[in-house]
């Protein structure tokens, strides 16, 4: 089990190196100077200073040595400084990632719980009115873009019904309270969750239907087990295996998708930081974001592998 996980981790290392090389090449092609990015703004900037810093930073060195130094910096957590605010990029990321993870987490929980439940019900009641209802909901869910849904949700539930706040992380000027924060996260999380719910539901339905036809489900029935035990223990456990892949793929998609939703809802996460960086042509921040995104995708691959091996012993013992 541990060996399997370590092996998966090692397989990801070349990928990670590849990604950093691409990011590095992009960074050196970026407008703006990496030197300037590395100099914090309270250092007085003169031409001499820059020359000196260039020497210090080794920008006169050959490219591969520059890369190694750059990697060294990254490993130590130094991603450079924002052109705009002169803040350290890694500090910016660290301070903003919790909000994004919260949004992703809530939205993913909603879509996994709803998607798996509705998909399973749909499969168990195949061709019933509920199945058709969920199928229609699924098609709608897949075809509505989440930014549009976000705006509709704001309009209906925040502006008209006033059940939820329109935007922000907490009510401005108030102390942080979890209840208040959850009220704020609900609409953006829902906007992000709908598409995923629909996708997970469709995959779960198909997967459960396939598993139901398996011989071991008939064996479970022939043993006289309770219907709930048959569904939860024998059917779901197997049906989950293909669904896990889809959930894993959606982690990265969700991270990218949060950019627009965070902007619509003024959610102070990584996505909003990225949009601000793009509008301000703040390349160090953009690079930091790109690097982070790749890491998130790799991490979700690893998580997927881990979840796989928890559900399927054949992988664990491979």
């Amino acid at each position: 089990m541990l060996a399997y996980f370590i092996r998966r981790l090692l397989i990801n290392i070349p990928l990670l190196v590849g990604i950093t090389i691409i990011v590095f090449v992009l960074a050196s092609l970026m407008p703006g100077d990496a030197v300037l990015a590395m100099i914090s703004s309270d250092t007085p900037v003169t031409d001499d200073m820059i020359k000196m810093r260039q020497g210090e930073l080794g920008l006169d060195l050959p490219l591969h040595e520059q890369y190694l130094r750059w990697m060294g910096n990254i490993i130590q957590g130094n991603l450079g400084y924002s052109f705009v605010s002169a803040e350290s990029v890694s500090k910016m990321i660290v301070s903003r990632i919790p909000a994004t993870l919260e949004l992703m987490g809530v939205s993913l929980s909603i879509s996994i719980i709803l998607g798996l439940t509705l998909g399973t019900i749909s499969a168990l009641k195949q061709y019933s009115w509920m199945d058709y209802g969920f199928t229609v909901f699924g098609f709608i869910g897949i075809s509505i873009p989440d930014f549009f849904l976000g705006m509709v949700l704001v309009f209906v539930f925040a502006l008209k019904l006033k059940w939820f706040p329109t935007s922000g992380f907490i009510t401005a000027g108030e102390e942080f309270s979890l209840a208040d924060n959850l009220r704020h996260v609900f609409l953006p999380a829902l906007a992000l969750a709908l598409v995923r719910t629909a996708v997970f539901m469709r995959y779960t339905r198909a997967s459960v239907l396939e598993v139901l036809g398996n011989d071991y489900v008939r064996t479970a029935r022939a043993k006289g087990l309770l219907q709930n035990v048959i569904i939860l223990r024998h059917v779901m456990r197997n049906a989950l295996i293909p669904v896990i892949t889809i959930i894993g793929v959606n982690l990265g998609v969700l991270f990218a998708g949060s950019v627009i939703i965070e902007t619509i809802f003024q959610w102070p996460g990584i996505g909003m930081m990225f949009i601000n960086a793009v509008t301000g042509r703040d390349s160090p921040v953009i690079m930091g974001y790109v690097l982070l995104t790749s890491m998130i995708v790799l991490a979700s691959n690893l998580l997927t592998d881990l979840a796989y091996s928890l559900v399927d012993p054949r992988i664990r013992y491979e």
């Binding site: 022939a222 087990l225 012993p313």
Partner: protein
């Protein structure tokens, strides 16, 4: 002997692309407590479906029981509710399926797959159920049961898995075991071992058993009665020795003693019966075997023969059963 199971006029249908498949077409048979019955017939003749029906395990859709009775200890299983059936399945009637590779859940340890039935039906706690599971695995001859109980199905060979399936079926000492071609997917040497094992266990536990097989030779030694099925009909039923010595249906004759034919390589081999079983999507008119039967007459095409009493506990659904006593091989002229 008390009657354990009495099936009367059982009919099972499936819907497929707007047509109805006539899978089982009014079969009747009975089995005493502790008795043993073999059901033989080509693949697709309705053997499995006939058994699944009495356990209430016909997948619906697409299938359903059209009519009939299945009296088990006097209760009609075909009228029992799902809740009542659940208490009978695994406890009173257990089933071992054809393919041990797919019949066990691949993601659960075999221990859990054994104990869940024990806990459901016998009300034992976790530890007692585990003890019982180990005892059962030892009984079916699985080495190291206490360790192996933690293993997953993919860690066992085909023969071992079938032993696990048998242990699983017998944990609650059912009064009826249905073994649906339990050896078909296994090597020949293992086949004999499994048949032997089930026979011993039957003697030990005193249960009744229904063997489904398309290989009469394999189970002939372990059953009292044989029931021959063809396209959803019972065409002949007799005590095993009587069936061997005095088959009274051409299809049985074909299964048992086909005329040896000379092959292209000049090797003697047993000819199989020429032709194909009838299309089950149409109701069958006349004798279902008529199109393949060398002894067919005009009457056979028009009227479905009933099961004639042709001897003590011996029935045959052939219009010409009396004349058949004159021949001993299939294809030999009458």
């Amino acid at each position: 002997m008390t009657r354990l199971l009495e099936v009367k006029d059982l009919k099972v249908r499936f819907r497929s692309d707007r047509t109805i498949i006539h899978a089982v077409n009014g079969i009747s048979y009975s089995l005493d407590e502790g008795g043993s019955l073999a059901v033989v017939g080509e693949s697709g003749s309705g053997k499995s479906v006939g058994m699944l029906a009495i356990m209430g395990l016909i997948p619906n859709p697409p299938g359903w029981v059209e009519s009939g009775q299945a009296l088990f200890k006097g209760r009609d299983l075909l009228k029992a509710s799902e809740g009542e059936l659940r208490l009978i399945r695994g406890k009173e009637i257990a089933m071992v399926f054809q393919d041990p590779m797919t019949s066990l859940n691949p993601v659960l340890p075999i221990g859990l797959q054994l104990t869940e039935a024990i806990q459901t039906h016998l009300g034992l706690d976790k530890n007692q159920a585990r003890e019982r599971a180990i005892e059962m695995l030892r009984m079916v001859g699985l080495p190291n049961p206490a360790q192996r109980i933690k293993d997953f199905p993919f860690q066992f060979s085909g023969g071992q898995r079938q032993r696990v399936m048998i242990a699983m079926a017998l944990t609650c000492t059912p009064s009826l075991l249905i073994a649906d071609e339990p050896t078909t997917a296994l090597d020949v040497t293992i086949q004999a071992q499994i048949v032997e094992l089930v026979r011993d266990l039957q003697k030990q536990l005193g249960m009744a058993i229904i063997w489904i097989s398309h290989n009469l030779g394999l189970v002939a030694g372990v059953v009292d009665t044989v029931l021959v099925m063809y396209s959803g009909f019972i065409v002949e039923q007799a005590p095993v020795d009587d069936l061997y010595e005095h088959p009274r249906h051409p299809y049985t004759l074909g299964l048992l003693h086909a005329v040896p034919k000379l092959d292209t390589e000049n090797q003697e081999r047993l000819a199989s019966i020429d032709g194909m079983p009838p299309d089950l999507r149409k109701p069958i008119v006349g004798c279902p075997f008529a199109p393949r039967c060398p002894y067919r007459q005009e009457k056979c095409d028009q009227q479905t023969p009933p099961l004639f009493e042709v001897g003590p506990q011996h029935q045959s659904a052939c219009w010409r059963w009396q004349e058949l006593s004159k021949i001993s091989t299939f294809g030999e002229p009458l």
